[in-house]
Symmetry: C2
Subunit: 365 residues, 2 copies
């Protein structure tokens, strides 16, 4: 990314776009075009809405956290009629609830959901939701920002109609690029969608990107980074990438259990990040600052009603076993500093018991 910025209307940059398109298609597991936007993930969420819907259309939004809430805000901002399925923070949506609304309102144009709801570290049941939309004239629009490249989300096979992601999570880059792919069904719906758009007009962007260029000036140096990131992910192999995330997530959950910290997402935890409840007498904000400034370890706190009560430990993208070990050790240090009895090493050991699954073979003598 530190390479000189080249002009984007050149064969050299077209070669970058070509490689990026191929790599993104492999990671999204789709034969469709994966379109790259110079925007953050929210831009691609908005693009998903304005390219598939019209004012007055009925949609179902699964709102189980800050990002579910964002679907609602985007849709309502454009005059879309939202049926909200409010899910308790930390829980996954029950597909039967969505199904009941689909039966009651068969005119529903789309179901919008997070695959992984980052604010609550919950994994929603996308395959089950796809089972509901597949046979209907209803799209399944999935925010995969912390799911694509983390866990198996085979867009075409699973029947996802719109899949969104961004550069700064599994793709290991700085923020600034967003990705979105449409199924045939979604492209068809886009023909009748009348919501206004220009920068996020995906039909125009697709026409350009099929020629390995972009409609507007691309974020050139991030594209260089993306080419390299995709190369690494595909060299590791998607199955290995998913298995690594699963292992790191299980290790983090095991370590948290070892420390006696209850999981925020007990029943359907995300493989991208793990939220843990802190002991009630620990001020979460202060602990978070201590970890950041005292120990140099970054964990996210809770938002809104969870502020100060939880910590979220990320283990996606450029993450390996020693990141989990470090996170557990840092939690142990931090909790002991805040007067919580947390025997040093207990969380680490519990995490290690999972991580040991993947030790490399002993070199032969």
């Amino acid at each position: 990314m530190a390479a000189p910025t080249i002009h984007h209307r050149t064969p050299e940059f077209e070669a970058t776009v070509r490689e990026v398109r191929a790599g993104l298609g492999a990671v999204f597991q789709t034969r469709q075009d994966v379109i790259v936007l110079a925007a953050s993930g929210t831009g691609a969420m908005e693009a998903s809405v304005v390219n598939t819907l019209s004012a007055g259309d009925v949609v179902i939004v699964v709102n189980g956290g800050k990002f579910g809430e964002r679907w609602t805000k985007i849709c309502r901002g454009y005059g879309v009629d939202v049926e909200e399925v409010v899910v308790a923070w930390g829980e996954a949506v029950d597909p039967a609830v969505v199904e009941a609304i689909l039966k009651r309102r068969p005119e529903t144009r789309a179901v919008l959901v997070q695959a992984s709801e980052t604010s609550t570290t919950v994994l929603h049941p996308v395959p089950e939701l796809a089972g509901l939309t597949r046979e209907r004239d209803t799209l399944l629009i999935v925010d995969g920002i912390t799911a694509v490249g983390v866990t198996d989300m085979p867009m075409d096979r699973m029947g996802i109609d719109v899949l969104v992601s961004g550069s700064q999570k599994a793709f290991m880059l700085p923020p600034g690029l967003a990705f979105v792919a449409f199924s045939e069904k979604a492209w068809k719906a886009s023909e009748r969608a009348t919501l206004p758009k220009f920068y996020f007009d995906l039909a125009r962007e697709r026409a350009s990107q099929q020629k390995n260029t972009t409609a507007y000036t691309p974020a050139i140096n991030l594209m260089f980074g993306l080419r390299k990131a995709l190369e690494r992910m595909l060299a590791e192999g998607l199955d290995a990438v998913f298995a690594r995330h699963d292992r790191l997530a299980r290790a983090t959950r095991a370590g948290s259990a070892g420390l006696g910290l209850p999981l925020l997402a007990g029943t359907s935890p995300s493989p991208a990040a793990t939220g843990v409840y802190l002991p009630p007498d620990v001020p979460g904000g202060d602990l978070q600052k201590y970890l950041r400034y005292g120990l140099g370890v970054e964990m996210a706190g809770g938002q809104d009603r969870l502020k100060g009560k939880i910590l979220r430990i990320a283990h996606l993208g450029h993450a390996g076993p020693f990141d989990v070990v470090t996170a557990m050790a840092a939690l142990e240090f931090g909790l002991s500093r805040f007067g919580v009895e947390a025997p040093l090493g207990r969380g680490v050991a519990a995490a290690q018991a999972v991580l040991v699954e993947d030790l490399p073979a002993r070199p032969s003598a």
Copy 2:
């Protein structure tokens, strides 16, 4: 920009946003907030439209090139009623034509124009247009993508209501950031504007950026670069920056005249780039490729009706006297290779005669 990507909800990143905001205010010469978006310039153009207008509003678009055309496309895409002032490519708009429309249609909500129309290397008369909109209930919306930080565009003093720019021109960065500032009058207009928006909702973005954060994930590493770029621009001094661009532009025009190449923008040339007509028997596309691959010198060609007929020589941002010298020498080499009699050194010497104005003083013995 190659520094590690830090979390954006931290005091460290807030400090970056604070510095960037102050620096952008200085370069835009405004007391208003200059809002940063993770998008390319077209995104900020769209933000200007959707935050100030409603469907059915009447606007005047100055269309004298590819980017003027883009204003029309954005506005019409949102159902805005566009009165287009079509200007011959290479010429600047006549303010009297705009004034006549303003008198005929006093309900006109905005005049949209490029300060510098990059596709034709023309500078439009923004101060005169501001004289027309200042006393009316009409906004002046200016695309300053190749003007802000290039030539004196004192937003507040000149009476510009909306001023747009982007990271990849005067700001010397890779693409991926767009900037937009609103006057009091524009913020007031935004209250009645009903066009839909979410990612580009500037009131929301302003509320966040006034707290030195952003509504959605920012393009973090580009922000690091922007902080440094602003530091450099302000250390050089805005007046010195403008004088440098003016000198480089005059040198390029003098050099082109020395080579016998007519200017595309004869009467109102931009200080950002200079378009020159090629001799009619020279295939412009081939010459451009020869310069790029044979000599390693990048010049832009013409678009649409100018394709193959012109070259555009940029001299903005990170550009100095030897860039102009190189451009002239490369043109001389290239033209001679394509069988045009262009005495080597003639364009260079003509450019040098301007550049000599700014030689540093002789070191004292």
